[in-house]
């Protein structure tokens, strides 16, 4: 019962944080510098690792499916399988997991440290709402950066799959056939759904990590605990939300 109460309390706290942040949405144009800075931190600095990770996910997917599909003569559909898997599921989910580990942890650590070392209290005494300058710019930045990051991740995954399909001896599906199969069953709706999922995941990750960071109490030891909590909670939420968002979009 206590555990359930705690979960309900955290959900309530997160929703309240969102409400308090959205109250200041009119201040966003005046905070463009902060939003751009967060876009750089969230988006640009995550780009190299997103490209590497998704490229190899596409490669492995092509390798595994090529090996299996060859057994029943369906290897010409590798492009379709890799294409749809990346765009509808693996691209958004893997980019979200990466954002949770890389950006979510950094947000939780920064805000927890600000809380522990009384910087958030200082803002409060200065009558500057922490939600306005610490949470809102990050939420805006993730909304801006998540679709391009997911799209780049999806495309890298496609090319990873294409490369492996062409140059792996046991598969040997050339690029033209791979991309023809990929396009044949791909609809605009698939891409839009994938990007929408990524947007939802990114928003939830940042909101939850901000909440956990700002809820930190105690000393420096609790900063580490908050980071772990933020990443674990984000990963669980990504996978749980994935099911429900996918079901809603199908």
């Amino acid at each position: 019962m206590t555990f359930l109460n705690a979960i309900i309390g955290h959900i309530g706290g997160t929703v309240l944080l969102l409400g308090r942040s959205l109250k200041h949405v009119g201040t966003l144009p005046g905070q463009s510098r902060r939003v751009i800075e967060q876009c750089y931190i969230i988006g640009f600095t995550s780009l190299p690792i997103v490209t590497i990770l998704t490229f190899f996910i596409g490669s492995v997917l092509a390798l595994q499916s090529g090996y299996s599909m060859e057994n029943f003569g369906a290897k010409q559909f590798i492009g379709t399988l890799v294409g749809l898997s990346m765009v509808r599921e693996l691209g958004p989910v893997m980019v979200a997991i990466l954002i949770a580990g890389r950006v979510g942890s950094a947000i939780a650590a920064e805000l927890a440290s600000m809380k522990v070392f009384q910087e958030v209290d200082a803002l409060e005494t200065m009558n500057i709402p922490a939600e306005r300058i610490l949470v809102l710019p990050r939420l805006a930045a993730i909304l801006v950066m998540m679709p391009p990051l997911a799209l780049i991740g999806i495309i890298c995954g496609w090319y990873g799959g294409a490369l492996v399909s062409e140059y792996t001896h046991s598969i040997s599906v050339d690029n033209a056939a791979y991309f023809a199969a990929l396009k044949a069953y791909m609809k605009n709706r698939d891409v839009i759904d994938g990007l929408l999922k990524a947007e939802v995941f990114g928003f939830v990750i940042v909101l939850v990590c901000c909440y956990i960071g700002l809820s930190t109490r105690g000393g420096p030891r609790e900063i580490g605990a908050s980071v772990t909590k933020a990443v674990v909670t984000s990963l669980i939420l990504i996978l749980v939300l994935d099911y429900f968002v996918t079901k809603a979009l199908l």
Binding site: F117, Q118, D121, E124, T125, I128, I133
Partner: protein, 271 residues
């Protein structure tokens, strides 16, 4: 070496009035521990009130209640007529708190730390903000630190930047949490002068939580001693030069007795 001078300070007169603080029946519990027991206190508008007490006696918790950073378990804290715990109070009262460790924003330079308040509240143009910030920095001899980040500052410098940040806010109620800790005697004396001069020129109500006996006795209009979460004594500085209460006398002028059994225990443990 240049030493900052309090006489260099000329504060802008406040637009609003100055506020007193009333604490009525304040009790605070953290879990099962009662940190403050039924505190009743009145700080008059424009006075310097020093709150002293041993470590862990509840001084800083009381200060946080006045700043609206903690909610009372029971009782109330009012700033003038306003409830200190109500977020709207900060729209009506300019309140600044100088935190013990500074609480500077690590991601901002010293200049931006000071400029944050006027910028966020759009108090003046960027040129006006610059003038305000540089004035506050010059009072505390921090001009050379303007481009530095808090991580590049010593503990004492961080404290001075925190005081400068409070000055930029032109407060009506100024709260200090251990303003002279980690400072050398010269800087401590200067900070004491600044607190006194600031009140002299602007009539700002100042509440100073401190262990520093000489600071309290030299600048306070009144002193409160808090022990075990209770107000033990209230009075003017002269009442505390030779206090009759042995607990207060021992706190204000502790006698170091090397024949104390505790030292004997330490000696034995090393043998």
């Amino acid at each position: 070496m240049s030493t900052p001078s309090a006489s260099a300070f000329t504060a802008t007169p406040f637009v609003g009035k100055t506020f007193g603080v009333t604490v009525k029946g304040l009790t605070k519990q953290f879990g099962r521990a009662t940190v403050l027991h039924d505190i009743n206190l009145e700080v008059r508008p424009g006075e310097i009130f020093c709150l002293m007490g041993p470590s862990g006696s509840g001084k800083s918790v009381l200060l946080k209640h006045i700043a609206g950073l903690e909610r009372a378990t029971s009782g109330e804290v009012r700033i003038g007529e306003h409830d200190a715990g109500d977020p709207d109070t900060r729209d009506k009262v300019h309140l600044a708190l100088v935190f013990q460790a500074g609480a500077l924003f690590n991601s901002l330079s010293v200049y931006d730390n000071l400029a944050l308040y006027p910028r966020e509240h759009r108090l003046c143009s960027e040129a006006g903000i610059r003038e305000r910030v540089m004035n506050a920095l010059s009072i505390l001899s921090l001009e050379k630190a303007v481009k530095k980040y808090p991580s590049e500052l010593s503990g004492g410098m961080k404290k001075r930047v925190a005081i400068a940040r409070a000055l930029v806010m032109e407060p009506q109620l100024l709260l200090y949490d251990e303003p002279t800790s980690e400072l050398d005697p010269v800087m401590s004396a200067t900070i004491s002068e600044i607190i006194a001069t600031l009140r002299e020129q602007t009539a700002v109500t100042s509440i100073v939580v401190t262990h520093d006996r000489s600071l309290a006795l030299s600048i306070a209009d009144r002193i409160g001693i808090i022990m075990d979460g209770r107000i033990r004594a209230l009075g003017v500085p002269d009442d505390f030069r030779q206090p009759a209460d042995p607990a207060i006398a021992n706190f204000l002028s502790p006698v170091i007795d090397l024949k104390n059994p505790r030292f004997k225990q330490l000696e034995n443990s090393h043998e």
